[in-house]
């Protein structure tokens, strides 16, 4: 298939002077440490009068003493700080049009701010962020409210087969490892959490040496240095955290069937996968793009959806984490097709393990990844996330610059060998969520 190449003329002269991301190049990442030891990654992006600040902390649920502590600690930062209550914090930021976003998963907790550069938005927003991180007050009544709302959210999780299945899968994969429990916690653990536990979590993990500051926006290096110093100024220097315990291999395969009153059965299959710094990262990443990582253009989609119409969504992925994050495959299908769909899923995987990708499949996957690379860094929002990941997982600073070369270097043999080395289907965990008896099937036309 050949297409006429469409080449644009050079853009208007002026705009070429304004590129932060020159055509065909990658962002120029500058890095340094704040006075108290937080790592900073910065990309200057002068085109839009805005700034994205993303602070990430090695403070996720893998570090907590009781399930749910990390998520609640993170959520409480915006509920009271310095002399301000939750209303005042929200008002300060929103009155100048800024967005604050916080979150916490297994590895990472984050606080992100997006603000205009103009006065008073920039100073007001950065000042507020600084106080949130430096002087959170964890007001008791707000904790009680967030606790109750978390219990409601946990109730909602129980009414969706997706969340029921995914929680069961992590529990089965990780057993006694801190990755096993869901970051939201359980009704029991959330009920038991104390304010002191949140304050302890904050004091131990929200410290400068455990923090990465990612900055992208219309500021220069000197301004960026001042901003990074400012927003981390209230953090104690602290200590960086020790590595998490390694993840144990599963000793045998198992299947769990969870009764659920749904018209579809959700299937999850997996095993512990790889860490973010695994030497097999690129062969597995590129290989999985062929297997089930590239939307409709993947073997799983072809076999399960395109050829047989069994599922709307079918996928596989490696989720690399500090320790071995999961390798996961999933689909959903009407209840009586469950066994067929699971068979096709596993047969497709086994064939891929045995044969690896064809040269054509590998070439197409590489072309998608390398040709699509400009899309991964096409906005300040995307770049700031990339910076945070590079900092958090200690990836090389030339990670973006060398991404395409590393994808290109992957061979079919490397993919096949890496998959064979890493995936052991006879030890997979399979979670099946759906009616275990026909009597429980609700309505729905079959």
């Amino acid at each position: 298939m050949s297409f006429a190449k469409y080449l644009t003329a050079p853009a208007v002269l002026l705009s070429s002077l304004l590129f932060a991301v020159p055509v065909g190049a990658v962002p120029n990442i500058q890095t340094w440490h704040t006075a108290n030891g937080a790592q900073v990654l910065f990309v200057e992006a002068p085109e839009l009068p805005m700034l994205n600040v993303r602070l990430v902390f090695n403070a996720g649920s893998a570090r907590e003493d009781r399930p749910g502590v990390a998520t609640l600690t993170n959520a409480m930062l915006s509920q009271g700080a310095g002399a301000w209550n939750a209303d005042q914090i929200a008002e300060r930021l929103e009155a100048v049009g800024s967005d604050l976003e916080v979150g916490s998963l297994r590895d990472m907790a984050w606080v992100s701010l997006r603000t205009l550069i103009r006065a008073p938005a920039l100073d007001t927003s950065l000042g507020t962020l600084t106080t949130l991180l430096g002087d959170p007050t964890f007001p008791g009544p707000d904790l009680e409210r967030l606790r109750k709302n978390t219990l409601v959210a946990l109730g909602q999780d129980e009414q969706e087969p997706r969340t029921v299945g995914s929680k069961a899968l992590y529990q089965a994969l990780y057993d006694t490892h801190p990755y096993a429990h869901d970051p939201t916690g359980t009704k029991e653990s959330v009920t038991a959490i104390t304010r002191a536990e949140l304050i302890n979590h904050f004091r131990r993990y929200y410290v400068a040496k455990n923090t990465v500051v990612a900055l992208v926006g219309a500021v220069d290096r000197a301004q960026a240095e001042r901003i990074a110093d400012q927003v981390t100024s209230g953090l104690a220097k602290g200590e960086s955290v020790p590595p998490l315990a390694p993840v144990m291999e599963l000793s045998q395969g198992r299947m769990e069937r969870l009764d659920f009153p749904s018209t579809q059965t959700h299937v999850y299959v997996g095993q512990p996968g790889i860490s973010r710094t695994d030497p097999d990262y690129f062969p597995l990443y590129v290989g999985n793009h062929v297997l089930g990582g590239n939307g409709l253009v993947s073997l799983l989609s072809e076999e399960v959806r395109e050829k047989r119409g069994l599922s709307y969504s079918v996928y596989s992925y490696f989720l690399p984490m500090q320790q071995r994050g999961p390798f996961l495959m999933g689909l959903q299908t009407k209840n009586r097709q469950t066994e067929q769909a699971l068979d096709v899923l596993m047969q497709t995987l086994r064939r891929f393990l045995q044969e690896g990708p064809t040269e054509a499949e590998l070439r197409d996957a590489k072309q998608n990844l390398t040709g699509g690379f400009p899309l991964q860094i096409a906005s300040n929002a995307k770049i700031v996330e990339q910076l945070a990941l590079i900092g958090f997982y200690g990836l090389p600073l030339d990670y973006l610059a060398t991404f395409n070369a590393k994808v290109e270097a992957v061979t079919a043999t490397q993919v096949r060998e890496a998959f064979q080395r890493r995936l052991k289907p006879d030890r997979f965990v399979t979670i099946v969520v759906g009616p275990t008896q026909n009597a429980n099937t609700r309505g729905g036309a079959e």
Partner: protein, 456 residues
């Protein structure tokens, strides 16, 4: 929480050229409207083809046909067989997908800028040359049904939202779900899908939106080369199907296996270009932001914090729809509160808007948020193209996006009060309640009365 989804001119906060100078428009002889927005920050381009057809064009027995056709658009033409579209885009480094809504169906590809011709060649080809093989259809309609099970049947809140629309609207096609009723999907035939395709997919019923690091004249030339050879067609005509005035409150109870109750309240309202003075839709947008434009807005401040009657709560309104839309409120009660308590608290909020002017500080906060979001949205070329496509596809002009900040900023406290008094009335209200049923399907639930006693 409500996001401000449309906003406009930069009001001097940036040295960039005004947005309208970066948008270029041309109509091909066959009626295809081509709109190009330049954004040279990154060497990428997004190409979107928008068809003026969606579930609001459908009639009884054929619901879901627009969405089913969207799925079939990936099933091949004479030149490119089933699945080839996605394979070719993928091998060119592209991201692609499609979506169907009430008012439009859109197909998009995001690519490195030198690959735009790939997208054009494929989109022009499938605009008229789809083969719609029966064997492919037989499999794909099963995928669509799985999608319905996934998104609606097994999600108690989505099921409630579906029942809500079907109850609120009598005649308006907004009563039907975009994905269609299951029985209609069961009965739909590939011949009907083919007829639907021939009726609505034509250059004169489409808008091509391109945004990114491109030269507009080259895009126009390229569009003429690939889409130009297609002929204008006689496309379908949609009947007005006007919604009669509502003459009393409507309530629907949705009993489904669930753990937490859920409430939706909707008042029938107007839309940009609809009946009523042209400031009304903007006053309704302002009203939605006064209530829910962030965590400092009234609903979060007073109902989630304050009284804690809500665990979560939202206000929604979209001024840019083809037919009159609703102003809606939805939420989950806080622990120890019932949906009845939450409904009561939301009604108090509505009455307060009618009786007291909103404060200058609240108006100012929303204005600042809109100004900021207009800058933030320029961080995404995809979103910029989306705005243009949406406006054009509901029969409005992309220029409205550039007037948005001005129009919204001009809204006064009196106007907010006026639209609340006019539209947010009991006779105009529909209430839907999710009443959780036991998850094990066995015993009737005994602890539910507080949650479900809202039928009055």
């Amino acid at each position: 929480m409500r996001k401000l989804i449309l906003a406009a001119a930069l009001l001097g906060v940036t040295a960039l050229a005004p947005a309208d100078e970066r948008v270029h428009e041309q109509v091909l002889d066959n009626g295809l409207k081509v709109i190009v927005k330049e954004d040279h920050r990154a060497p990428i381009v997004t190409s979107q083809v928008w068809y003026k057809v969606g579930s609001s064009y459908e009639h009884g027995g054929l619901t879901g046909i627009s969405h089913a056709l969207e799925h079939m658009m990936f099933k091949g033409t004479e030149r490119h067989g089933p699945g080839k579209f996605s394979e070719i885009i993928s091998a060119n480094g592209g991201d692609e997908n499609a979506f169907t809504s009430r008012d439009y169906t859109a197909y998009f590809q995001s690519l490195a800028k030198d690959r735009l011709a790939v997208a054009f060649e494929l989109e022009a080809d499938r605009m008229r040359n789809l083969t719609l093989p029966a064997a492919e259809y037989a499999k794909e309609i099963e995928v669509v049904k799985e999608e319905r099970r996934l998104r609606t049947e097994d999600s108690p809140t989505a099921l409630t939202a579906e029942r809500f629309s079907a109850t609120a609207y009598l005649a308006s096609p907004y009563r039907n779900p975009v994905i269609g009723w299951m029985s209609d999907l069961d009965a739909l035939s590939v011949d009907e899908v083919r007829a639907w395709y021939r009726t609505w997919y034509a250059p004169n019923n489409a808008t091509l939106v391109v945004a990114g690091d491109v030269d507009p004249q080259q895009v126009f030339a390229l569009a003429a080369r690939y889409f130009g050879p297609l002929k204008a067609e006689r496309t379908g005509v949609s009947k007005p199907r006007a919604e009669p005035p509502q003459d009393g409150i409507k309530r629907v109870l949705v009993k489904a296996p669930a753990k937490e109750p859920y409430l939706i309240m909707g008042y029938k309202a107007t839309q940009a270009g609809g009946a009523g003075p042209d400031w009304e839709p903007y006053a309704l947008e302002m009203l939605a932001s006064i209530l829910d434009g962030g965590s400092s807005a009234r609903l979060d401040r007073e109902l989630v914090r304050g009284s804690e009657v809500a665990a979560s709560v939202d206000a929604d309104y979209n001024a840019f729809t083809r037919l009159p839309e609703m102003f809606s409120l939805d939420g989950t009660p806080g622990k120890g509160h019932s949906v009845g308590d939450l409904e009561q608290a939301l009604r108090v909020q509505v009455e307060r808007i009618k009786n007291e002017p909103v404060s200058p500080g609240e108006l100012e906060r929303v204005r600042n948020q809109v100004i900021a979001s207009k800058v933030f949205e320029q961080d995404s070329v995809f979103y910029q193209a989306m705005q243009i496509g949406q406006l054009e596809s509901v029969g409005l002009s992309w220029r409205l996006a550039d007037q948005y900040v001005k129009r919204l900023s001009a809204v006064t406290a009196d106007q907010v009060q006026a639209v609340a008094r006019k539209y947010l009335t009991d006779d105009n209200l529909t209430v839907a309640v999710l009443a959780p049923q036991p998850m094990n399907g066995k015993q009737p639930r005994t602890d539910a009365p507080g949650d479900v006693h809202v039928l009055r």
